[in-house]
């Protein structure tokens, strides 16, 4: 392990050292720990929704499969790739800060931001599709209540809802309710993450971060990876689990 060069004396303190910390090491440790503890709360936050999902999926398998099969698997998969790539660029941004490569750092952060926005864009396209198909549950959107057209036998219109045997539109609505709640929450986290990364970009252009002080990059990186992990679970659970019923 490389010893941190951070001085333990207050006299030669780094300009970014806050008054109530003894040294940079302590400050960095507190920052990282704080983010991890925060991520724990995030896990529990999403945990409540995962619980509801698990319960109802086991209760209404056919309904959930039919609803899930209506989601666009290509867009979902591409988005997964986009997010993984953004996680990679984020990790590289942290690395380049640690080793002091300013240019790479800024480039990676910008890439991460762009990829995050791409994800949100694709998500918006998907949401719009669902809106078109009247799959937004309940009266969430006034004037366009949930009411998808149900495909009849032999009907291959992909805008219509193909119900597997045993499925009902009502429980499809429940799936979409959970789908919008979970992906919506996830998207909200992405938006917050994008905002944070914008800050990082501004400050790294100003040259705020160096090998000695880069705790913000690292901490926001942790957050970004966490949001990625949530998606890693959402993708198979929401998009994939009903596919094999189709054949």
């Amino acid at each position: 392990m490389i010893e941190s060069p951070a001085a333990t004396e207050h006299i030669q303190a780094h300009p970014a050292l806050q008054h109530h910390f003894e040294n940079m090491e302590q400050q960095r440790e507190a920052g990282t720990l704080g983010m991890w503890v925060f991520l724990v709360t995030e896990i529990m936050f999403f945990g409540g929704m995962f619980l509801a999902y698990t319960l109802y999926r086991s209760k209404f398998p056919a309904d959930f499969a039919s609803a899930s099969n209506h989601l666009d698997i290509t867009l979902g998969a591409v988005n997964t790739g986009v997010l993984i790539l953004s996680s990679f660029t984020m990790a590289t941004a942290v690395w380049s800060t640690q080793v002091g490569k300013r240019q790479t750092q800024i480039l990676c952060l910008v890439l991460t931001l762009l990829l995050g926005l791409t994800f949100l864009g694709i998500k918006a396209v998907e949401y719009y599709d669902k809106y078109e198909d009247a799959l937004v549950p309940g009266q969430l959107i006034p004037g366009r209540p949930f009411g998808p057209e149900v495909a009849q036998e032999g009907d291959h219109d992909r805008h219509k809802l193909h119900l597997l045997p045993g499925a009902t539109v009502e429980h499809v609505q429940m799936f979409y309710w959970i789908y919008f709640a979970m992906t919506g929450m996830h998207a909200l986290h992405m938006v917050i993450g994008a905002g944070l990364i914008t800050f990082l970009i501004i400050f790294s252009v100003k040259g705020r971060y160096d090998p000695e002080y880069h705790s913000p990059v690292e901490v926001i990186g942790l957050y970004w990876h966490f949001v990625d992990i949530i998606w890693i679970f959402l993708f198979p659970l929401l998009y994939l689990l009903g596919r094999h019923f189709e054949h």
């Binding site: 045993g166 499925a167 009502e170």
Partner: protein, 338 residues
């Protein structure tokens, strides 16, 4: 009303004295520990009061022996309560099979009650003393709770499913019936009475409140008008759909391979959401009746399906009373095909 202030409500069911016994035991334990701790506290506070502002007592680190002692003793006591209480709980909620069944529907803010002989009551429940009564309960709107303090019994009624509660009254009299789950504006007005009568009086009451249709008969009519007969046969003998006669209380094999007990909740689900659990060997062709039948009607269908039991003279008659013979004319009981 009594002139003295009671500490324990009237005890009028077979479980109430058992609950009281645990209650007294718990009160004893509580009193013991509260008094013990208070006494020690008072003693120490007086005995070791500060006598000089400069006094500093010798530190005592602690004692593993004592810690073990006061971990184990409360734990053991707690487990005695747990074990005892769990057994009685089991008894409280496990319904007896040969009970007289009464259907209860909660609704903001009243209790609708129907006996299996057809009599309907609102906010009142007449029952004979010394008979096991099983309430099959649901609600049309929010959660309520059927609470009879004198019987030490309560159970929530939950929309979307059945809950059951049973008791055997041991004393005639009139007892409070409370709604014990907050249900909105008139929650405190959702009260009524349970009137426990001598069996003879109860029979008189039944005859005095004759009703032309029992739930089972009404259920049979529904079974026809809703078209159930087209698949399940006029008497539940089966056809495109499975046999229903003798189904209640039996194991049913599902398409997935697992088995479920065909209890009230399962039957209800089979009618309202037939696709949720498909019977082995049948396709998902049964339409859902969600929204087409009210809770009352579901209960009537249920009563009808239950009446299709294999004959068992002791069980099929809802009450050992002259009036109850009417109930047996509901439908021809079918032998269990299995």
């Amino acid at each position: 009303m009594q002139s003295w202030i009671p500490l324990v409500p009237e005890s009028a069911s077979t479980v109430s004295s058992k609950v009281d016994a645990i209650y007294f035991y718990l009160s004893g334990v509580t009193l013991f520990f509260t008094l013990l701790i208070s006494a020690i506290l008072v003693f120490f506070v007086v005995r070791y009061r500060r006598r000089s502002p400069y006094e500093i007592p010798r530190p005592i680190a602690g004692s593993h022996k004592l810690e073990t002692l006061w971990t184990i003793i409360p734990f053991v006591i707690a487990m005695t309560i747990f074990g005892w209480s769990a057994r009685v709980y089991f008894e409280q909620y496990r319904p007896p099979q040969n009970a007289m069944e009464v259907y209860v529907v909660g609704k903001q803010w009243m209790w609708k009650i129907q006996h299996s002989t057809g009599q309907r009551e609102i906010n009142e429940l007449h029952v004979p003393v010394g008979r096991k009564i099983k309430l099959i309960m649901t609600t049309e709107d929010v959660i309520h709770d059927f609470f009879v303090p004198a019987f030490r019994m309560k159970a929530d009624v939950v929309p979307g499913k059945y809950t059951t509660e049973w008791f055997e009254a041991t004393k005639t009299g009139t007892y409070h019936l409370f709604c014990a789950e907050y249900c909105g504006m008139n929650h405190s007005g959702m009260i009524g009475q349970v009137i426990v009568m001598e069996p003879r009086e109860f029979d008189n009451w039944l005859t005095g409140n004759l009703s032309n249709t029992t739930p089972a008969v009404a259920g049979q009519q529904l079974f026809q008008s809703l078209g159930c007969v087209s698949c399940h046969g006029a008497n539940g003998e089966g056809g495109r759909g499975p046999t229903l006669a003798g189904l209640y209380g039996k194991q049913t094999r599902l398409a997935g391979g697992e088995t479920v007990v065909a209890d009230e909740s399962y039957l209800r689900e089979s009618i309202l959401n037939p696709q949720a659990k498909l019977v082995e060997g049948f396709g998902p062709i049964m339409p859902t009746f969600q929204g087409q039948v009210s809770e009352d009607q579901v209960m009537q269908l249920l009563a009808f399906i239950k009446s299709l039991q294999v004959t068992n003279p002791q069980q099929s008659a809802p009450a050992a009373s002259p009036t109850s013979t009417r109930a047996t004319t509901q439908a021809t009981p079918r032998p269990n095909p299995k």
